[in-house]
């Protein structure tokens, strides 16, 4: 779980990600001006977070590194609780809280 990258690698990531993110934000305000985005591109952009984040998180939920890659009831339940509360309340912090309580509660009960 611990980062093994060198300091140089980490700083490269921070600086390049920082510059790249800035250029994305500046794009239309600055360089691209009033150019119209093609409709299909606007559509794709709208779904970046909702596609990238689940793709990132799904394997972490199914095969947590902490349990050697074996599915873990406490973590699966915590994930379910987080999503359920998030969908119902639309409140990010409440969802995190629900997931955290479920995780630590079950880890305590099951240990």
């Amino acid at each position: 779980m611990r980062v093994q990258a060198s300091d140089l690698q980490i700083w490269t990531i921070i600086v390049v990600l920082g510059i790249g993110t800035y250029l994305i934000r500046w794009s239309f305000l600055g360089a691209l001006g009033d150019r119209d985005l093609p409709g299909w591109m606007l559509r794709m952009l709208r779904y970046t977070p909702v596609a990238v984040l689940p793709a990132l998180v799904a394997p972490l939920v199914m095969w947590p590194a902490a349990t050697g890659g074996n599915p873990d009831p406490a973590r699966l339940a915590a994930a379910t609780a987080t999503v359920a509360v998030g969908v119902m309340t639309k409140n990010v912090m409440l969802a995190i809280l629900a997931g955290g309580i479920t995780l630590f509660g079950l880890l305590y009960l099951l240990s």
């Binding site: 790249g20 500046w26 709208r46 970046t48 977070p49 689940p54 998180v57 799904a58 987080t82």
Partner: protein
């Protein structure tokens, strides 16, 4: 008479959306400012009468509720990044130079998985692509701002400052550029500075937390909590579902590579479903 009423209702619905949905990361893209005048009401008169300083204060006040989300979130990032093994300078480097929560968490997660540098960067950028949409939708309102002013707006253009500002601009279309910039500056100050400070607090706290507490799952839970409120249309659900299935199917690939394939598949699915729904509605 049916038509103007309908149009008005659409505008109102759009204006309300970011507030109802304040935790969401992807407010809908805004339309261009239209020639149509907003109904002259008291709120508009007040907004038009504001000095730049008052508009700045107004932006500050309206941003304050978002701190309930931003501060704990930034603390969490500081804790998690420190626990993953980054030093304080690196943690702060993320929050000051990148200044985008979801991509910061993404980068740290992939770093923990020992993904190659290029994949960490590409994934982080992919998460932030939505901001090009924000940039495009703010341009018509800020076209007359100076280059330096636009550069600062770009630096502090985050989900919440965008959502608040675009809502304010659409609600009061006749604001001057100075009033618009002052309002944006107010939101940017209240939203971005605490992000950095709270990150530092989290990083300091993180150093004091003993290893062995199940913090490995803090990041997945955070991501899930961010995703859940976004699932508000069939298209969002479809994008999410396809991304998950693809990511699980491709989990055997070297770390991070499955993500770079699964995410575009999910995005394309969302776009296709949206196009289909629109055609059916039309």
């Amino acid at each position: 008479m049916g038509r103007p009423c309908l149009a008005l209702r659409v505008v109102q619905a759009r204006c309300r959306e970011p507030l109802q949905d304040e935790s969401s990361m992807s407010p809908s893209p805004a339309p261009r400012p239209s020639a149509r005048q907003a109904p002259a009401d008291e709120a508009t008169e007040r907004a038009l009468a504001r000095s730049p300083r008052a508009a700045f204060r107004h932006g500050i006040v309206q941003s304050l509720p978002f701190l309930v989300v931003i501060i704990p979130f930034a603390i969490l990032f500081g804790v998690v990044a420190t626990e993953a093994g980054l030093d304080i300078a690196q943690v702060m480097g993320f929050s000051i130079l990148v200044l985008a929560g979801a991509s910061q968490f993404t980068a740290v997660q992939l770093l923990s998985d020992n993904a190659p540098t290029i994949i960490v960067i590409l994934s982080g950028l992919a998460v932030n692509l939505r901001m090009a949409m924000y940039s495009a939708s703010l341009l018509p309102w800020l076209r007359d701002a100076s280059g330096t002013q636009k550069a600062w707006v770009a630096y502090t253009l985050i989900d919440q400052s965008y959502a608040l500002s675009i809502q304010h601009y659409e609600r009061h279309p006749r604001l001057s550029v100075t009033q618009r910039l002052a309002y944006f500056a107010g939101t940017a100050l209240v939203l971005c500075l605490p992000w950095m400070i709270a990150t530092w607090v989290g990083a300091t706290v993180g150093q004091a937390i003993p290893d062995g507490i199940a913090l490995d799952f803090a990041m997945p839970i955070t991501f899930l909590a961010m995703i859940a409120p976004m699932l508000r249309t069939t298209a969002h659900l479809a994008a999410c579902f396809v991304a998950i299935v693809a990511a699980l199917a491709l989990a055997g690939l070297p770390s991070g590579l499955g993500l770079l394939i699964a995410a575009p598949l999910g995005m394309a699915t969302g776009a296709l479903v949206e196009a289909r729904m629109e055609r059916r509605g039309a």
